[in-house]
Amino acid sequence: MKELNYSYYPGCSLHASAGEYDLSTRELFKALRIGLTEIPDWFCCGATPAHNVDELLSLSLCAKNLELADKVEGDMAVACASCFSRLKTAQHVLGESDVKRKQVEKAIDAPVKLDSNVKHLLEILAKDLGLERLAAAVNKPLSGLKVACYYGCLLTRPADVPNLDCAEAPTIMERVIEAAGAETVAWTHRLECCGANFTLSRPGVVLQLTNAILESAKAAGADCIMVGCPLCHGNLDIRQKEIEGVYSTSYGLPVFYLTQLVGLSVGLGADKLGLDAMMVNPMPLLKEKGFL
């Protein structure tokens, strides 16, 4: 079996508000014997704000990061859906437009490298490692846990860019977490937008959108939500109390990163998954289901 080694691009959030995503990713990959080398001195991809107002800057930042990643062996593993989307979009746009590629090459003063493989963690687990090997590594199956997989916007959209899975009816998250022994629920809002970066500038909008998502997950009978994006996590987890207050309701839905749940199934302890960093306390649920 070929050894799996990746260059790791955590993205800014994983070094800050999404520390538990970073921690659980490193621990899970260690447990699965997948090599992960953090790209030295990577910097911000520009995320949504950059392409929102300055596409050239956004493309240049991504192109520079792709160049940095090129120096580390292995495909590029990306945890954050936003970084993933930006890097993939940059590859796509620069591959299609000669004009923009030339502009970016001038901005970064280096040739643009487009051949490196940018992969989201989900892709690595589901395709490179494979669901069979993942299932074989599971020693504490998450039996009886009903998970609502939340894709959000950027993992699959637009149709021909990330190519992670079908843009409208993706199943990759479900397949991964079912391999870990959990059940998944069919729910209506798994692809709806949470408001993402409006969390800073327009929290009112975010509350409205996020409430609809939580409501839908709850109505589908989910015990918890699983995400692959720190922005989604921020809006669903950190703001959950606030939403409950504004809409006078109660959800109590823990929001896990995919690496936390998968990590749990391969036997990693709470300390290695950063479960204590979650705003909605998952402990009661996990104890009730007998996972801890």
């Binding site: 949504t48 392409h51 300055d54």
Partner: protein, 194 residues
């Protein structure tokens, strides 16, 4: 907003501006045949005075002033739902990006201070530190936007959970990042890029 009569002539249709939008976004506004699917699925459409399809319609007529005077572009969440579902490959999300970019220099564009401020601070952070520091971003945003108490209750909780880093780490690529910013500024000055 009072609705002014739209006088259409070759003079009032600003094709040059629309061409710029098309060049920046890499998509054609003429392809749109106004099916309205973008507006149907837009999570933010209820907040916009011009729903997405009408933004494209106004561009088709060269009436960009009407688009930029409104807030629609500042309410787009870049979720790409419109682009994904468009039957005609009109990349509306990129058109929105282009419009926000062009609104910087355009006369009469609405100044959607909060979103613009957040974006600006975000980019400044990259230029100064190479990476984002959410604590700093939020704090500066609150100070600059005058909402000192916004999300005040979240701060200590996040700190307790280790979610807000107080200090930034050194990034060896800082000079390189600065160069990227300055080179792009120079290119724009010379008119080599939009």
């Amino acid at each position: 907003m009072k609705k002014k009569k739209m006088v259409i002539s070759q003079e009032t249709m600003d094709v040059d501006f629309v061409r710029k939008v098309e060049a920046l976004s890499g998509t054609s506004v003429r392809r749109c045949f106004q099916c309205g699917k973008c507006s149907a699925g837009c999570p933010m459409a209820t907040f916009m005075e011009h729903p997405p399809n009408r933004v494209v319609r106004l561009l088709q007529l060269g009436q960009w002033q009407r688009v930029l005077a409104g807030r629609s572009i500042w309410y787009c969440a870049s979720c790409e739902t419109c682009t994904t579902r468009c039957p005609n490959k009109v990349d509306l999300a990129s058109i929105m990006d282009a419009l926000r970019k062009l609104s910087w220099d355009a006369e009469g564009a609405s100044k959607e201070s909060y979103v613009q401020l957040a974006n600006k601070l975000f980019l400044q952070n990259i230029r100064t530190y190479g990476r984002q520091y959410e604590m700093r971003l939020a704090a500066v945003f609150n100070v600059k936007s005058g909402q000192f108490l916004k999300d005040l209750m979240l701060g200590p909780k996040l700190l307790a959970k280790g979610k807000l880093k107080m200090f930034h780490s050194k990034n060896k690529n800082m000079p390189e990042i600065e160069k990227i910013f300055t080179r792009i500024e120079e290119m724009r000055k010379k008119g080599e890029a939009l």
